[in-house]
């Protein structure tokens, strides 16, 4: 069966980026995003693009996979570009003209700027999920949320829920694909008729999908019980996440570097 290529799915290779603490990565991504939005020139974008390229290289994630998410953005990019570039009369400098509509040079420049920024944002942030396992991510989140635990937030449980949700995304996607094929084989059409008809067409897929999901949930709860899961308290971790000197250095240097780049360029 075809495994759906979920965008941003973890790529299990060894690299310095993979071994970096999830919290350090989250911090760097935050700085990257902030810097990207502060930058207001193409030179700034070029520096950020170079940074993404270097990290992709170091992470050993195949470029094809690293930029796969960008393809999904196609429509948004075109829209961004057009929204800025297309101008009605009367406008400043028109490059091309078609009746009352034309492409404006200044608008085109802005459009390209925003589009490139979106591409970089996408590529940069997806590097986080490409090089960090969902469990490391949720552990990192839990640790970042820790102040919330003092206020009575069940941070351990929230992290576990996230982990399980992530764990079952590929399974559920496979299951949905299987059901769509199976019901199509019984003559179901998912692409005909009104919107209501199309939504209704998915009932024979969604009902068994949920029935099977509930069964899974029950089995999983039993499995977790049998393996002594009793909430976050007292749990240890295989990979006890400790921020090493390297993690702090990367976080501070990259973080400051990215934000300053954004401000200056």
């Amino acid at each position: 069966m075809r495994v759906p290529s979920t965008f941003g799915q973890y790529v299990p290779v060894d690299s310095p980026v993979h071994t970096l603490d999830a919290r350090a990565k989250m911090g760097v991504i935050a700085a990257f995003t902030l810097g990207l939005f502060l930058a207001d020139g193409f030179l700034g974008l070029a520096v950020f693009a170079a940074a993404v390229a270097v990290v992709v290289r170091v992470s050993r994630v195949p470029a094809r996979i690293a930029f796969r998410g960008v393809r999904a953005l196609g429509l948004i990019l075109v829209f961004t570009l057009l929204a800025h570039a297309l101008r009605w009369e009367p406008a400043t400098v028109m490059l091309v003209r078609l009746g009352p509509i034309g492409i404006d040079a200044e608008g085109l420049r802005t459009g390209i700027f925003f589009a490139v920024r979106i591409v970089l944002l996408m590529a940069g942030t997806s590097l986080l999920t490409l090089t960090t396992t969902p469990v490391q991510l949720t552990d990192g989140l839990e640790s970042v949320m820790r102040p919330g635990a003092a206020l009575g937030l069940p941070t351990g449980e929230i992290a576990m829920m996230l982990t399980i949700a992530l764990r079952f995304i590929p399974t559920t996607a496979q299951e949905a694909e299987r059901l769509i094929i199976a019901q199509s084989a019984r003559g179901a059409r998912f692409d005909e008729g009104s919107l209501v008809a199309r939504v209704r067409a998915y009932v024979p897929v969604l009902v068994p999908l949920f029935v099977n999901l509930f069964r899974r949930a029950e089995d999983l709860a039993t499995a977790m019980d049998a393996r002594c899961y009793r909430g976050g308290e007292g749990r240890t971790r295989l990979h006890a996440a400790v921020m090493t000197v390297r993690d702090w250095l990367v976080l501070l240097l990259c973080g400051i570097g990215l934000v300053v780049t954004g401000i200056v360029l």
């Binding site: 992530l166 069964r215 039993t222 499995a223």
Partner: protein, 271 residues
């Protein structure tokens, strides 16, 4: 030892008892097979053995600890590993090593020790090198062995396997059976629930449940040697066992037990 003493169980609201007057035991390093038709109470018995359920009458103890004692629940579950029929649904982790680590993490084992246990457990089920593999990239048989590794990493004294091969192809089934046999040699007592007598011909004992009561408690040899009795218990014998039996009754001296094709053919052509 896991001991059932005159155990009864009735689901809330059910008119009839799921189990009644069941007395059985599983010792360390012993392989006990549990057979019986659907609805005979196998799954209930399994869930009573690790305190997922507690008996409505009688007593279940694990190395002396009563499963009805709420303070002992986690110690009992640490001792009695449990795997289910559907390999997919019991995997918690998003990569293999994280899943195997789940049990020890819950027990509060130190990280360095978890690392050792995870690698040992994966090795024991023949999945060394699969540490970083994602569950959906594993075959069903590999997933089931991953589940066994997850139970093993808790260092259990017993493992209860509820129809672990029911959803597997012949290759996956053979691999899982091999992994379960390996446990027995490590001193783990195994309770193996199955529909297939072929899976458990080397078991120390076979228990057959029928409508919530133990209908047979003996060796696999006794069942294989008495096809009529097996049939009466609703146990499907391997076709070659039935053939051997029919030939024996026709006067051919086929060796007892579970003979190979060559042995049966040999017996046919002698005389």
């Amino acid at each position: 030892m896991v001991v059932f003493e005159n155990v009864g169980f009735r689901y809330p609201g059910a008119r009839t008892a799921a189990l009644e007057g069941v007395s059985v035991s599983v010792r360390p390093a012993e392989l006990v097979a549990l057979l019986g038709p659907n609805g005979s109470g196998k799954s209930t018995l399994v869930r009573l053995s690790n305190a997922l359920l507690s008996p409505t009458s009688g007593r279940v103890t694990v190395d002396g600890m009563d499963t009805a004692d709420e303070d002992a629940v986690w110690d009992i579950r640490e001792r009695v590993g449990f795997i289910q029929q559907n390999p997919e649904n019991q995997i918690v982790g998003t990569i293999a090593e994280e899943d195997v680590a789940f049990g020890p993490e819950n027990l509060g084992v130190a990280p360095a020790e978890i690392r050792v246990r995870v690698d040992e457990a994966l090795e024991a089920v023949g999945l060394a090198g699969f540490q970083r593999r994602e569950p959906h990239m594993l075959s069903e048989g590999q997933k089931q062995r991953l589940a066994i590794a997850g139970a093993l990493a808790m260092r259990p004294a017993y493992l209860v396997a509820d129809e672990p091969t029911a959803m597997l192809d012949p290759v996956g089934r053979a691999d899982v059976l091999r992994a379960l046999r390996g446990l027995r040699h490590q001193g783990v007592g195994v309770l193996h629930v199955t529909h297939h007598l072929e899976d458990v011909l080397d078991a120390d004992r076979v228990l057959v449940l029928a409508s919530g009561a133990v209908a047979f408690d003996g060796t696999p040899g006794e069942l294989v040697g008495d096809p009529e009795r097996a049939l009466g218990l609703g146990i499907e014998l391997p076709a070659e066992v039935l053939l051997a039996d029919a030939l024996r009754r026709g006067g051919v001296r086929v060796p007892a037990g579970h003979p190979s094709a060559e042995e049966i053919a040999e017996a046919l052509c002698l005389s």
